[in-house]
């Protein structure tokens, strides 16, 4: 939670600074004559600030344990944002996304362990494979009702996990069944995606997260984004307006599965051990979906907010209560999920965004008042 506190402190400082700035050049700035402090500007600046803080964090927080937690937090934020492309924008409920994490992780790991292929390349190959699988899953299931789609994704994910758990070899590829694959921590360096400290991993996942958020933002403003929203809300009307709803959903699925797979490789390189129960589990699929839903699917900020707020909860409950009360964090997730769905189905981002907007508005009116003084 240190990151968030920092952010809040910095924001108040920024507000104070703005007031100072405006009263400095106050005589030149009148309300309405091309003001410096517009809502758009403030939002961009606070965003830039958040990014700066995120990049600067490892300089302040050096404990590997905390860094590890934050890395996983970003990891989940990345996963939920990728999930959001299908689960949020396309309006369906995929509950088996861990299958793509598994494909990504196993592909890059097998390629690097057995054939010495750089994990970066393996990552891309894993991504492409996932696209195929994702489209394969989506083709028949997108026509179905929501509940059936959800079930089908669960069946795919569980079926895949069962298969991987029971196969030792796929042809020449060593999958090692339930024992999983271990990556020896050697050959450090960027090319091998292997680092001694947590910091490089931190920056990689942060950049990935920013990348995927930017992509989501672009898509939401593009034809695909509009079409996805339309198809999700009123498919019949959308079709009459030229939207091939099934095709757009498949496009969303392809993008989502690709980026989810990349996270699989990241996880493999970060934790150096993958096995079916850890990365192709229903628990992870559900956790991703829960966080995105609580945060607010279909919005850009929702999944990230969800991860930033919920992951610390789960981590702390695991650290402090893990032995006495196992599974407490899941109970908390479940209860929060139910409450949010009853009272605020669009997710907590709805009220958080409203609060943020009113803060921004107040800053704008403050600065305009200063200008007139």
């Amino acid at each position: 939670m240190t990151g968030k506190e920092n952010l809040r402190v910095k924001k108040t400082n920024l507000k104070a600074q703005k007031k100072g700035l405006d009263s400095h050049t106050g005589s030149h700035i009148k309300a309405g004559s091309g003001p410096f402090v517009t809502r758009g500007n403030i939002k961009t600046m606070s965003l830039a600030l958040a990014v700066l803080v995120a990049f600067g964090l490892p300089l302040v927080i050096t404990s590997p344990t905390y860094l590890h937690i934050i890395v996983l937090m970003f990891f989940y934020a990345y996963l939920t944002t990728s999930w959001n492309m299908v689960g949020g924008f396309a309006g369906v409920l995929p509950l088996g996304h861990s299958v793509f994490i598994g494909i990504g992780a196993y592909t890059s790991t097998i390629l690097s362990l057995q054939y010495g292929v750089s994990p970066w390349i393996g990552m891309m190959i894993g991504g492409i494979l996932s696209v195929f699988v994702g489209v394969l899953i989506g083709l028949p299931t997108f026509k179905m009702r929501g509940a059936y789609f959800a079930l089908a994704t669960i069946a795919f994910a569980e079926g895949f996990r069962v298969m991987v758990e029971n196969i030792d070899f796929i042809g020449p590829l060593n999958v090692n069944g339930p024992r999983g694959l271990q990556i020896p921590p050697q050959n450090y360096g960027f090319a091998n995606f292997m680092f001694a400290g947590k910091e490089p991993y931190y920056y990689i996942i942060l950049i990935m997260l920013i990348g995927v958020l930017a992509l989501t933002w672009f898509i939401s403003r593009s034809k695909l984004g509009y079409y996805l929203n339309a198809g999700g809300e009123e498919p019949e009307a959308a079709m009459a307006l030229g939207v091939n709803v099934a095709k757009t959903k498949l496009a969303a699925m392809a993008i989502s599965s690709f980026f989810t797979a990349l996270a699989g490789t990241f996880y493999a390189q970060f934790s150096l051990f993958i096995h079916p129960k850890s990365i192709i589990s229903l628990d992870i699929s559900f956790e991703i979906a829960f966080i995105a839903l609580i945060g607010g699917r279909g919005s850009i900020a929702g999944p990230v907010l969800g991860a930033l707020l919920l992951r610390p909860v789960s981590d702390f409950s695991r650290i402090y209560f893990g032995d006495i009360l196992p599974g407490l964090h899941l109970v908390i997730y479940g209860v929060i999920l139910i409450l949010v769905m009853i009272f605020q189905p669009r997710g907590i981002q709805e009220s958080l965004t409203r609060m943020y907007d009113s803060v921004v508005d107040r800053v704008v009116t403050w600065s305009q008042k200063d200008g007139e003084a």
Binding site: S222, Y227, E234, E236, A238, M239, A240, L241, G242, N244
Partner: protein, 241 residues
């Protein structure tokens, strides 16, 4: 060439024949009205033309091209647009957003689509409500939104499915004005209506169907005085023979 030509169209749903050997055609630039008692099969005709159903028999031609098995989105790209009897706005989105979705039928660029959408809203005197969420619109405005959306796809043929239903008389007049203006831009209009004074005022020709079959065709005056039509609407006792 006729813009729309329906030849011997049949539509069966299991044992029920909803449309029975229907023949009708529309000239470019015409306004054709389709009327008939409830359950006569009017919406089914629309759905067959618009690609929701593939007709069980017969042929539908749009600008000379047979479109029996075409999907709605492809038909839209070809220039055929429709509205829905039960309006289906994208309720959580703004009016502008709704129309932009339609505008994307002719462009891939968001800026361009937004500009086109605003033009359409201006033409329909709707621009002031562009940021309003669709779910908070009145029924008359929702109908206008349906039309705006469909218009944004730059159609050559527009199918209006009971676009006046639920409107008050003043609103009906407003809608009639809108449709008259649309015709001036060269769009062909095919409309289903129950509100007689609207369809009489608008249509160049009217087709009357009953039990899925055409029972009369002609100018509004001809149709209004047609015995079969009167019988169909009011029952056999009222036929003037």
């Amino acid at each position: 060439m006729k813009i729309l030509e329906i030849t011997d169209m049949v539509m069966r749903f299991g044992g029920l024949t909803a449309v029975n050997k229907l023949n009708l055609s529309i000239d470019q630039g015409e306004i054709l009205g389709l009327i008939g008692p409830n359950g006569a099969g009017k919406s089914t005709v629309f759905n067959c033309v618009a690609g929701v159903y593939a007709p069980t028999g017969g042929r539908v031609q749009f600008n000379g091209q047979t479109i029996n098995n075409e999907k709605p989105w492809n038909l839209c790209k070809k220039g055929l647009a429709r509205t829905f009897q039960l309006v289906k706005p994208f309720a959580t989105k703004s009016v502008l957003y709704n129309v932009v979705v339609g505008a994307f039928a002719t462009t891939d660029n968001t800026k361009e689509a937004e500009q086109k959408a605003i033009e359409i809203l201006k033409a329909l005197k709707f621009e002031d409500k562009k940021e309003v969420k669709a779910s908070s619109l009145t029924i008359a405005d929702r109908k206008r939104l349906e039309i705006a959306r469909a218009l944004a796809t730059e159609p050559k043929l527009l199918l209006f499915d009971e676009v006046m239903a639920g409107l008050r008389p003043a609103e009906v007049d407003g809608m009639v004005e809108i449709i008259k203006r649309l015709r001036k831009t060269g769009i062909t209009i095919f409309l289903i209506e129950h509100i007689m004074r609207a369809i009489m005022a608008l249509s160049d020709r009217i087709v009357v169907i009953h039990f899925g079959k055409k029972i009369a065709e002609g100018t509004p005056q001809q149709v209004a005085s047609n015995d079969n039509v009167i019988k169909a609407y009011l029952g056999d006792d009222y036929g003037v023979s």
